[in-house]
Subunit: 462 residues, 2 copies
């Protein structure tokens, strides 16, 4: 095996990798919209076909909802087992009118490919597939086992994988889970992310009268559900970014002084960070820096709100319904199930007369804090430095990968979170993009990681 | 002239009146939606054709937006001039899925016709056209002058008519303005409405980051516009229905003791009223009855609210925009222009850091309180009693007919507000309807009113 010959292979195939990546981006595999279920399956089949070419005998595993894709190289007794996780489903695309080019027609601008799923997570997932391809071409076989576990429900709660993992522990057993579904610290600044926030998502629907009413005939004598919704949302968070749900902060682990210093020392350019999203400053919980707020503090956000007439012009209506979708980002030790109870109790206590409330909660995940003492972390640090030309930052991240906590808990595996994206990649927003240079560096880093692991003398201890 | 022969004519032509009415309802003349401008014009042309058959030489008056329709009988020196006002535009129809039958395909159920515009205002407007037809057939000519002034922008601020009236005062001069665009007190309980609420409508748009953001990556460090909107809306009205805009109540004329007693004596069945809209009780400003809240107190209502992701499932987004359409109902003496200033100042003081606000205001109208001492009121009371079989209630109404205040002010005319609808007619809501019995009673009442006015010896003094 040789890093040089692998690099040569990567260079020789760079254009084909891009063209295959772009083909995959054309499949609108939106998991939260039932009408796109067929597209999610198509994306899975595309991946199966791709992995078949590596002679990995991939399986397309049907579930109650979206399929899983699994593949593995042969087991090598005594050698480590690495499992790569990724997801081939994508977020919805609206508001569509804000996309410069159509979300499922990949367009290259300024060295990045623009498309839904480019960075989250099709592009990042594929780096590992192409890396394994290159390493297998070079070495013929690996001195350890690689497993691929890919899902099509990450953007909608990972229910199928959540059911599948605990019932297939032997099949999925691994020493280290490798995940690329996030961002680097900054352009040219690779990172190993050791913390993720958890999440708990809700939808609150308030109903007043049985139908929309004339606001002149009825206004003043009937509780307006949209007003009730505003009032209830106001009691979820105060004007200083502090969440008002009783007992919400009980299990929050405070940041350590060491961690606060470490965050403070990072070359984080606030004005550049906020400038990129059109803001002068950030805003949030008092007494915390922007990095702390984003990485290590829990939050409340309204994701969507709807009530009454929203078309052009006016309509003098007293709407019969109002609803809000909202999410909490949680930090490690906060239990989504406890949050559900506290939120429901709190909202029921706030629901005004004449209004009935329905609270749906969609999916929850714990936060994650992984150990930096794993030999895989050491291997990854070397691989990142070789591929990107500088040592990685050790960061936490504000997002959630709900299934990661579960998989690492169930399989008792170390976790390597190696994001190749950037914070301004517009994941979950219009004009999602992924730097093609980072796409190729990601492939190289993944290949280097495999080479580093191949050097292990034996399975590292648990 | 004879009431009996007119009644006979109305009976003989009842079916034709209905069928013409239904034809008109099929034209989707929604004035607030630009794509329906052609339909508003079509509704105007239909009306012109109808009035032409009465040999009234109607005019279709083009404006910057939707046309006006005007017609008149010959002037009779010394005799009164009556002007009938109505509107042929209708409200939007969404949410469409809540309509039992399509809004522009009139359907008869339980003695009512269901269609957008049935009661507001095509059906009520037509009662006066058919009454004039019957009276002209019977009498050949009238001993006083009738003018018809119909518009196609009532649901969108009446801008064109507002410009037209002051510049055509001589043409439109009249002693009494007759308007049927409201409700009776209850089924079989005709009313003369002597008060209307004013209105001021706004749209508030809040913008945060330049695009929707990933709520994990950015949540906690960026002010969420949907949260800001909830917080600002919360400061517009408290949990007891009291409006919080500074100086909002300064010009509100308190209810007199006499009026409160009069309202209290009305046979108003609270549980029936609220039961019909699916509620057990009403809710509103403390210290006031439901009738007082609806008729004589100002209110604040959110008409629509929109932000972020509103589709199926979830989307973990921090939205870049949030907006609300809201209206105040005003009582006489409250000045919409002053309300605009107070609201804008108040909202600017509430707008949080990182959020920019835009406040649009659409159209405003003063409230109206008309004199009960007019001889036309006496004539109307007789006409209503004969047509409906019982004397009218003297009521106020919660709705607004913005142009009425203007027209009555500019032309210095008395006003007769004679609604033939019912409070549960679903004006502005799905399944709008109009009782066909009341449609015919309305025609009869209008014809009787003309006969009463024909008995006047001379133009009543101003």
């Amino acid at each position: 095996m040789s890093a040089e010959s692998i690099d040569q292979y990567l260079d020789d195939n760079a254009q084909r990798f891009e063209s295959e990546f772009f083909d995959w981006l054309r499949i609108p595999s939106i998991s939260t919209i039932p009408a796109h279920a067929g597209d999610v399956k198509k994306a899975a089949e595309w991946l199966v076909a791709r992995l078949s070419r590596l002679e990995l005998k991939p399986e397309l595993i049907e579930t109650k909802r979206h399929p899983l894709v699994y593949a593995e190289t042969p087991h090598i007794p005594g050698a480590p087992v690495i499992m790569v996780y990724g997801h081939f489903d994508v977020q919805p695309v609206d508001p569509l009118e804000l996309w410069t080019t159509p979300p499922f027609e990949p367009d290259i601008r300024d060295g990045s490919v623009f498309a839904r799923g480019a960075t989250d997570d099709k592009g990042q997932l594929l780096t590992h597939v192409f890396a394994v391809e290159a390493v297998l071409k070079d070495m013929g076989a690996l001195p350890f086992q690689i497993k691929f576990l890919f899902e099509g429900e990450e953007e909608d709660g990972s229910e199928s994988l959540t059911e599948y993992v605990p019932t297939h522990k032997d099949k999925l057993a691994c020493d280290c889970l490798v995940v690329s579904d996030g961002a680097m610290f900054g352009p040219g600044q690779p990172a190993i992310t050791y913390g993720l926030r958890g999440i708990m998502a809700f939808e609150l629907t308030l109903t007043g009268p049985k139908q929309d009413l004339h606001s002149g005939t009825f206004g003043g004598a009937v509780y307006n559900p949209a007003i009730a919704l505003s009032q209830m949302m106001c009691k979820m968070i105060d004007e200083h970014g502090r969440i008002l749900v009783p007992e919400f902060y009980t299990d929050v682990v405070p940041l350590t002084e060491r961690e606060r210093r470490q965050f403070a020392d990072m070359p984080f350019d606030e004005s550049d960070f906020f400038g990129k999203i059109g803001l002068k400053d950030g805003f949030g919980e008092r007494g915390y820096t922007s990095l702390e707020r984003r990485w290590a503090r829990p939050t409340f956000d309204i994701n969507g709100m709807t009530s009454g007439y929203q078309g052009e012009g006016g309509k003098t209506v007293l709407p019969c319904k109002a609803s809000a979708k909202f999410t909490f980002r949680l930090v490690p030790k906060q239990d989504p199930a406890k949050i559900v109870k506290s939120v429901e109790t709190h909202l029921r206590s706030l629901c005004p007369p004449g209004i009935t409330m329905q609270l749906d909660y969609q999916h929850g995940a714990n936060g994650l804090l992984v150990s930096l003492d794993s030999p895989f972390v050491e291997a990854a640090a070397k691989a990142l430095e070789e591929a990107f030309g500088c040592p990685p930052f050790y960061t936490r991240e504000g997002g959630s990968i709900p299934v990661i906590t579960l998989v690492s808990d169930v399989l008792e595996a170390d976790v390597l979170l190696l994001g190749w994206g950037l914070n301004d990649d517009n994941a979950h927003a219009p004009n999602e993009k992924f730097s093609l240079a980072d796409f190729h560096s990601g492939i190289r880093a993944s290949a280097r990681l495999l080479l580093e692991i191949a050097k292990f003398q034996q399975q590292p201890g648990t």
